[in-house]
Symmetry: C2
Subunit: 196 residues, 2 copies
Protein backbone atom coordinates (compact mmCIF):
# COMPACT_ATOMS: atom_id res chain seq x y z
CA UNK A 1 0.00 0.00 0.00
CA UNK A 2 1.40 3.38 -1.00
CA UNK A 3 0.86 6.40 1.20
CA UNK A 4 -0.46 9.45 -0.60
CA UNK A 5 2.27 11.71 0.75
CA UNK A 6 5.92 10.67 0.27
CA UNK A 7 7.96 10.09 3.44
CA UNK A 8 10.93 12.33 4.25
CA UNK A 9 13.32 9.61 3.04
CA UNK A 10 11.40 9.23 -0.23
CA UNK A 11 11.28 12.99 -0.80
CA UNK A 12 14.99 13.31 -0.06
CA UNK A 13 15.82 10.46 -2.45
CA UNK A 14 13.65 12.00 -5.16
CA UNK A 15 15.60 15.25 -4.86
CA UNK A 16 18.96 13.44 -5.08
CA UNK A 17 17.74 11.43 -8.08
CA UNK A 18 16.52 14.58 -9.80
CA UNK A 19 19.85 16.32 -9.13
CA UNK A 20 21.74 13.38 -10.65
CA UNK A 21 19.44 13.50 -13.68
CA UNK A 22 20.08 17.24 -14.07
CA UNK A 23 23.85 16.63 -13.89
CA UNK A 24 23.49 14.08 -16.71
CA UNK A 25 21.48 16.61 -18.69
CA UNK A 26 23.30 19.95 -18.25
CA UNK A 27 26.54 19.02 -16.47
CA UNK A 28 27.60 19.84 -12.94
CA UNK A 29 28.40 23.49 -13.57
CA UNK A 30 25.00 24.23 -15.14
CA UNK A 31 22.86 22.65 -12.40
CA UNK A 32 19.99 24.86 -11.18
CA UNK A 33 18.07 24.19 -7.96
CA UNK A 34 14.76 25.23 -9.62
CA UNK A 35 15.19 22.46 -12.23
CA UNK A 36 16.04 19.92 -9.52
CA UNK A 37 12.84 20.88 -7.64
CA UNK A 38 10.77 20.54 -10.81
CA UNK A 39 12.19 17.08 -11.53
CA UNK A 40 11.57 15.93 -7.96
CA UNK A 41 8.06 17.34 -7.98
CA UNK A 42 8.76 19.44 -4.88
CA UNK A 43 9.39 23.07 -3.97
CA UNK A 44 12.72 24.87 -3.78
CA UNK A 45 11.92 25.54 -0.11
CA UNK A 46 11.74 21.81 0.51
CA UNK A 47 15.20 21.31 -1.02
CA UNK A 48 16.59 24.02 1.24
CA UNK A 49 14.92 22.36 4.25
CA UNK A 50 16.75 19.07 3.61
CA UNK A 51 20.09 20.35 2.32
CA UNK A 52 20.47 23.91 3.65
CA UNK A 53 21.29 25.56 0.34
CA UNK A 54 22.55 24.85 -3.21
CA UNK A 55 26.04 24.16 -1.82
CA UNK A 56 24.61 21.65 0.67
CA UNK A 57 22.70 19.84 -2.08
CA UNK A 58 25.80 19.74 -4.29
CA UNK A 59 27.96 18.54 -1.37
CA UNK A 60 25.65 15.54 -0.92
CA UNK A 61 25.16 14.64 -4.60
CA UNK A 62 28.72 15.29 -5.77
CA UNK A 63 30.25 13.72 -2.65
CA UNK A 64 28.22 10.53 -3.31
CA UNK A 65 29.25 10.58 -6.97
CA UNK A 66 32.92 11.04 -6.09
CA UNK A 67 32.75 8.18 -3.61
CA UNK A 68 31.09 5.94 -6.24
CA UNK A 69 33.79 6.68 -8.82
CA UNK A 70 36.57 5.82 -6.35
CA UNK A 71 34.76 2.69 -5.14
CA UNK A 72 34.41 1.32 -8.68
CA UNK A 73 38.12 1.97 -9.38
CA UNK A 74 39.28 0.47 -6.09
CA UNK A 75 37.05 -2.60 -6.28
CA UNK A 76 38.11 -3.37 -9.84
CA UNK A 77 41.78 -3.14 -8.86
CA UNK A 78 41.32 -5.19 -5.68
CA UNK A 79 39.46 -8.03 -7.38
CA UNK A 80 42.03 -8.27 -10.15
CA UNK A 81 45.17 -8.09 -7.99
CA UNK A 82 44.52 -8.99 -4.36
CA UNK A 83 42.62 -12.19 -5.26
CA UNK A 84 45.93 -13.72 -6.35
CA UNK A 85 47.99 -15.80 -3.85
CA UNK A 86 51.28 -14.50 -5.30
CA UNK A 87 51.58 -11.09 -6.94
CA UNK A 88 54.07 -9.93 -9.59
CA UNK A 89 54.67 -6.29 -10.57
CA UNK A 90 53.24 -7.11 -14.01
CA UNK A 91 49.98 -8.27 -12.39
CA UNK A 92 49.73 -4.87 -10.72
CA UNK A 93 50.38 -3.03 -14.00
CA UNK A 94 47.86 -5.18 -15.90
CA UNK A 95 45.15 -4.25 -13.39
CA UNK A 96 45.55 -0.49 -13.81
CA UNK A 97 42.75 1.20 -15.73
CA UNK A 98 43.80 2.42 -19.18
CA UNK A 99 43.75 5.98 -17.93
CA UNK A 100 43.95 7.71 -21.31
CA UNK A 101 41.11 5.79 -22.95
CA UNK A 102 37.66 7.13 -23.80
CA UNK A 103 35.65 5.25 -21.13
CA UNK A 104 37.98 6.37 -18.33
CA UNK A 105 37.67 9.97 -19.53
CA UNK A 106 34.02 10.30 -18.53
CA UNK A 107 34.85 9.67 -14.88
CA UNK A 108 37.88 11.99 -15.26
CA UNK A 109 35.58 14.76 -16.46
CA UNK A 110 33.23 14.19 -13.53
CA UNK A 111 36.07 14.17 -10.99
CA UNK A 112 37.51 17.33 -12.51
CA UNK A 113 34.19 19.15 -12.24
CA UNK A 114 33.58 17.91 -8.69
CA UNK A 115 37.05 19.05 -7.58
CA UNK A 116 36.52 22.46 -9.21
CA UNK A 117 33.20 22.93 -7.40
CA UNK A 118 34.88 22.00 -4.09
CA UNK A 119 37.20 25.01 -4.41
CA UNK A 120 34.28 27.31 -3.54
CA UNK A 121 31.98 24.83 -1.72
CA UNK A 122 33.23 24.26 1.85
CA UNK A 123 30.94 21.33 2.82
CA UNK A 124 31.85 19.49 -0.41
CA UNK A 125 35.53 20.17 0.23
CA UNK A 126 35.20 18.66 3.73
CA UNK A 127 33.40 15.63 2.33
CA UNK A 128 36.14 15.10 -0.32
CA UNK A 129 38.81 15.39 2.37
CA UNK A 130 37.11 12.66 4.41
CA UNK A 131 36.66 10.45 1.33
CA UNK A 132 40.33 10.94 0.39
CA UNK A 133 41.57 10.01 3.86
CA UNK A 134 39.38 6.87 3.92
CA UNK A 135 40.51 5.96 0.42
CA UNK A 136 44.13 6.48 1.37
CA UNK A 137 43.75 3.95 4.24
CA UNK A 138 42.15 1.37 1.93
CA UNK A 139 44.93 1.80 -0.63
CA UNK A 140 47.67 1.55 1.98
CA UNK A 141 46.19 -1.73 3.23
CA UNK A 142 46.10 -2.99 -0.36
CA UNK A 143 49.72 -1.97 -0.87
CA UNK A 144 50.68 -3.80 2.36
CA UNK A 145 49.02 -6.93 0.98
CA UNK A 146 50.83 -6.59 -2.37
CA UNK A 147 54.18 -6.32 -0.55
CA UNK A 148 53.41 -9.43 1.53
CA UNK A 149 52.42 -11.50 -1.51
CA UNK A 150 55.14 -10.20 -3.84
CA UNK A 151 57.12 -12.65 -5.99
CA UNK A 152 60.38 -13.35 -4.14
CA UNK A 153 63.21 -11.08 -5.26
CA UNK A 154 61.04 -8.44 -6.94
CA UNK A 155 61.13 -4.84 -5.77
CA UNK A 156 57.95 -2.84 -5.37
CA UNK A 157 58.21 0.89 -4.62
CA UNK A 158 54.80 1.80 -3.23
CA UNK A 159 55.54 5.53 -3.54
CA UNK A 160 54.79 5.12 -7.26
CA UNK A 161 51.19 4.64 -6.10
CA UNK A 162 50.98 7.07 -3.22
CA UNK A 163 52.95 9.93 -4.80
CA UNK A 164 52.41 9.41 -8.52
CA UNK A 165 49.27 7.47 -9.46
CA UNK A 166 47.18 8.86 -6.60
CA UNK A 167 47.98 12.41 -7.76
CA UNK A 168 47.81 11.94 -11.49
CA UNK A 169 45.51 14.00 -13.72
CA UNK A 170 45.36 12.10 -17.04
CA UNK A 171 43.29 14.97 -18.46
CA UNK A 172 46.53 16.91 -19.01
CA UNK A 173 47.83 14.06 -21.18
CA UNK A 174 44.58 14.03 -23.14
CA UNK A 175 44.98 17.71 -24.03
CA UNK A 176 48.17 16.80 -25.91
CA UNK A 177 46.36 14.45 -28.31
CA UNK A 178 48.79 12.90 -30.81
CA UNK A 179 51.71 14.81 -29.25
CA UNK A 180 51.38 12.95 -25.94
CA UNK A 181 52.95 9.69 -24.77
CA UNK A 182 51.16 6.37 -25.35
CA UNK A 183 49.65 4.11 -22.71
CA UNK A 184 52.39 1.58 -23.48
CA UNK A 185 55.15 4.15 -22.89
CA UNK A 186 53.47 5.07 -19.63
CA UNK A 187 53.32 1.44 -18.45
CA UNK A 188 57.01 1.00 -19.29
CA UNK A 189 57.78 4.09 -17.22
CA UNK A 190 55.73 2.76 -14.29
CA UNK A 191 57.40 -0.66 -14.48
CA UNK A 192 60.84 0.97 -14.42
CA UNK A 193 59.98 3.20 -11.48
CA UNK A 194 58.18 0.52 -9.47
CA UNK A 195 61.11 -1.88 -9.64
CA UNK A 196 64.10 0.42 -9.03
CA UNK B 1 43.30 63.82 -26.66
CA UNK B 2 40.74 61.20 -25.74
CA UNK B 3 38.00 60.23 -28.17
CA UNK B 4 34.49 60.28 -26.71
CA UNK B 5 33.68 56.80 -27.96
CA UNK B 6 36.05 53.94 -27.08
CA UNK B 7 37.67 52.12 -30.00
CA UNK B 8 36.91 48.43 -30.66
CA UNK B 9 40.22 47.43 -29.06
CA UNK B 10 39.49 49.55 -25.98
CA UNK B 11 35.95 48.19 -25.66
CA UNK B 12 37.20 44.61 -26.06
CA UNK B 13 39.90 45.17 -23.43
CA UNK B 14 37.39 46.71 -21.03
CA UNK B 15 35.22 43.57 -21.35
CA UNK B 16 38.19 41.26 -20.70
CA UNK B 17 39.26 43.38 -17.71
CA UNK B 18 35.74 43.32 -16.31
CA UNK B 19 35.53 39.53 -16.77
CA UNK B 20 38.82 39.11 -14.88
CA UNK B 21 37.51 41.34 -12.11
CA UNK B 22 34.31 39.26 -11.90
CA UNK B 23 36.38 36.05 -11.68
CA UNK B 24 38.29 37.58 -8.75
CA UNK B 25 34.98 38.52 -7.12
CA UNK B 26 32.72 35.49 -7.60
CA UNK B 27 35.01 32.79 -9.01
CA UNK B 28 35.03 31.27 -12.47
CA UNK B 29 31.97 29.10 -11.99
CA UNK B 30 29.78 31.99 -10.82
CA UNK B 31 30.64 34.45 -13.62
CA UNK B 32 27.58 36.08 -15.25
CA UNK B 33 27.75 37.92 -18.59
CA UNK B 34 25.34 40.62 -17.32
CA UNK B 35 27.79 41.51 -14.51
CA UNK B 36 30.69 41.60 -16.97
CA UNK B 37 28.73 44.01 -19.19
CA UNK B 38 27.91 46.23 -16.22
CA UNK B 39 31.57 46.37 -15.15
CA UNK B 40 32.71 47.18 -18.70
CA UNK B 41 30.02 49.82 -19.08
CA UNK B 42 28.69 48.13 -22.22
CA UNK B 43 25.71 46.04 -23.30
CA UNK B 44 25.41 42.27 -23.29
CA UNK B 45 24.81 42.49 -27.07
CA UNK B 46 28.20 44.14 -27.45
CA UNK B 47 29.90 41.26 -25.59
CA UNK B 48 28.19 38.76 -27.85
CA UNK B 49 29.30 40.78 -30.89
CA UNK B 50 32.99 40.48 -29.89
CA UNK B 51 33.02 36.98 -28.37
CA UNK B 52 30.05 35.14 -29.89
CA UNK B 53 28.58 33.91 -26.60
CA UNK B 54 29.39 33.26 -22.93
CA UNK B 55 31.54 30.26 -23.93
CA UNK B 56 33.48 32.42 -26.40
CA UNK B 57 34.11 35.08 -23.74
CA UNK B 58 35.23 32.42 -21.23
CA UNK B 59 37.45 30.75 -23.85
CA UNK B 60 39.30 34.05 -24.32
CA UNK B 61 39.60 35.08 -20.66
CA UNK B 62 40.31 31.64 -19.21
CA UNK B 63 42.64 30.69 -22.06
CA UNK B 64 44.68 33.86 -21.40
CA UNK B 65 44.70 33.12 -17.67
CA UNK B 66 45.83 29.53 -18.22
CA UNK B 67 48.60 30.70 -20.54
CA UNK B 68 49.74 33.27 -17.94
CA UNK B 69 49.91 30.67 -15.16
CA UNK B 70 52.02 28.32 -17.30
CA UNK B 71 54.27 31.17 -18.49
CA UNK B 72 55.05 32.24 -14.92
CA UNK B 73 55.87 28.64 -13.93
CA UNK B 74 58.00 27.98 -16.98
CA UNK B 75 59.88 31.28 -16.82
CA UNK B 76 60.69 30.85 -13.14
CA UNK B 77 62.03 27.34 -13.78
CA UNK B 78 64.01 28.40 -16.86
CA UNK B 79 65.67 31.35 -15.17
CA UNK B 80 66.68 29.27 -12.17
CA UNK B 81 67.99 26.21 -14.03
CA UNK B 82 68.87 26.95 -17.65
CA UNK B 83 70.92 30.01 -16.73
CA UNK B 84 73.57 27.68 -15.24
CA UNK B 85 76.51 26.52 -17.40
CA UNK B 86 76.50 23.07 -15.74
CA UNK B 87 73.37 21.52 -14.27
CA UNK B 88 73.04 18.94 -11.48
CA UNK B 89 69.88 16.98 -10.66
CA UNK B 90 69.73 18.82 -7.34
CA UNK B 91 69.64 22.16 -9.19
CA UNK B 92 66.60 20.92 -11.06
CA UNK B 93 64.87 19.79 -7.87
CA UNK B 94 65.64 23.07 -6.08
CA UNK B 95 63.96 25.02 -8.88
CA UNK B 96 60.64 23.15 -8.67
CA UNK B 97 57.79 25.14 -7.14
CA UNK B 98 56.76 23.89 -3.68
CA UNK B 99 53.61 22.43 -5.14
CA UNK B 100 51.80 21.74 -1.88
CA UNK B 101 52.27 25.21 -0.42
CA UNK B 102 49.64 27.89 0.02
CA UNK B 103 50.80 30.30 -2.69
CA UNK B 104 50.95 27.54 -5.32
CA UNK B 105 47.44 26.47 -4.36
CA UNK B 106 45.79 29.60 -5.72
CA UNK B 107 47.02 28.87 -9.23
CA UNK B 108 46.08 25.19 -8.70
CA UNK B 109 42.52 26.26 -7.88
CA UNK B 110 42.38 28.44 -10.99
CA UNK B 111 43.77 25.70 -13.24
CA UNK B 112 41.31 23.20 -11.80
CA UNK B 113 38.36 25.50 -12.48
CA UNK B 114 39.58 26.34 -16.00
CA UNK B 115 40.03 22.63 -16.85
CA UNK B 116 36.56 21.84 -15.49
CA UNK B 117 34.98 24.57 -17.62
CA UNK B 118 36.81 23.22 -20.70
CA UNK B 119 34.96 19.90 -20.35
CA UNK B 120 31.78 21.58 -21.63
CA UNK B 121 33.28 24.58 -23.50
CA UNK B 122 34.63 23.44 -26.89
CA UNK B 123 36.49 26.64 -27.90
CA UNK B 124 38.23 26.76 -24.49
CA UNK B 125 39.14 23.08 -24.81
CA UNK B 126 40.72 23.79 -28.24
CA UNK B 127 42.62 26.72 -26.83
CA UNK B 128 43.96 24.61 -23.91
CA UNK B 129 45.01 21.89 -26.35
CA UNK B 130 47.00 24.43 -28.36
CA UNK B 131 48.57 25.91 -25.21
CA UNK B 132 49.50 22.42 -23.97
CA UNK B 133 51.16 21.46 -27.24
CA UNK B 134 53.15 24.72 -27.33
CA UNK B 135 54.11 24.26 -23.68
CA UNK B 136 55.17 20.69 -24.31
CA UNK B 137 57.59 21.90 -27.04
CA UNK B 138 59.08 24.53 -24.74
CA UNK B 139 59.56 21.97 -21.94
CA UNK B 140 61.12 19.41 -24.28
CA UNK B 141 63.63 22.02 -25.46
CA UNK B 142 64.40 22.82 -21.82
CA UNK B 143 64.89 19.13 -21.04
CA UNK B 144 67.23 18.80 -24.05
CA UNK B 145 69.29 21.67 -22.64
CA UNK B 146 69.38 20.08 -19.17
CA UNK B 147 70.66 16.80 -20.67
CA UNK B 148 73.36 18.64 -22.63
CA UNK B 149 74.58 20.56 -19.58
CA UNK B 150 74.25 17.71 -17.08
CA UNK B 151 77.09 17.03 -14.61
CA UNK B 152 79.21 14.22 -16.08
CA UNK B 153 78.16 10.79 -14.85
CA UNK B 154 74.71 11.81 -13.54
CA UNK B 155 71.59 10.18 -14.91
CA UNK B 156 68.50 12.25 -15.73
CA UNK B 157 65.28 10.46 -16.69
CA UNK B 158 63.22 13.13 -18.43
CA UNK B 159 60.08 10.96 -18.27
CA UNK B 160 59.81 12.05 -14.64
CA UNK B 161 58.93 15.46 -16.10
CA UNK B 162 56.90 14.48 -19.15
CA UNK B 163 54.93 11.64 -17.55
CA UNK B 164 54.84 12.56 -13.88
CA UNK B 165 55.27 16.26 -13.12
CA UNK B 166 53.42 17.44 -16.24
CA UNK B 167 50.40 15.35 -15.24
CA UNK B 168 50.41 15.94 -11.51
CA UNK B 169 47.41 17.33 -9.64
CA UNK B 170 48.76 18.42 -6.24
CA UNK B 171 45.21 19.25 -5.19
CA UNK B 172 44.66 15.55 -4.46
CA UNK B 173 47.56 15.65 -2.03
CA UNK B 174 46.12 18.75 -0.37
CA UNK B 175 42.83 16.96 0.32
CA UNK B 176 44.75 14.52 2.55
CA UNK B 177 45.94 17.26 4.91
CA UNK B 178 48.09 15.85 7.71
CA UNK B 179 47.68 12.31 6.31
CA UNK B 180 49.56 13.16 3.10
CA UNK B 181 53.25 12.98 2.29
CA UNK B 182 55.51 15.97 2.90
CA UNK B 183 57.23 18.09 0.28
CA UNK B 184 60.55 16.66 1.46
CA UNK B 185 59.36 13.07 0.98
CA UNK B 186 58.17 14.03 -2.48
CA UNK B 187 61.52 15.57 -3.43
CA UNK B 188 63.32 12.43 -2.23
CA UNK B 189 61.00 10.35 -4.41
CA UNK B 190 61.67 12.57 -7.42
CA UNK B 191 65.44 12.45 -6.88
CA UNK B 192 65.33 8.62 -6.69
CA UNK B 193 63.23 8.33 -9.84
CA UNK B 194 65.15 10.95 -11.84
CA UNK B 195 68.48 9.26 -11.26
CA UNK B 196 67.62 5.55 -11.71
Amino acid sequence: MKSAKPSVVQARDAILQSALHEIERVGILGLRVADVAKGANCSITQIYRYFGDRDGLLAQVLGDLYQDILNVMTESFRSRVLSKPVIAVDDVLAALPTIFSGPAMRSQHLRLQILAVSVTNAPLRQRLEQISRDQSKVWNEGLDEIEQKLVTGQKFDRRVFTMLLANLLPFYRTLLGEDGFTNEEFLTFLRDKLTT
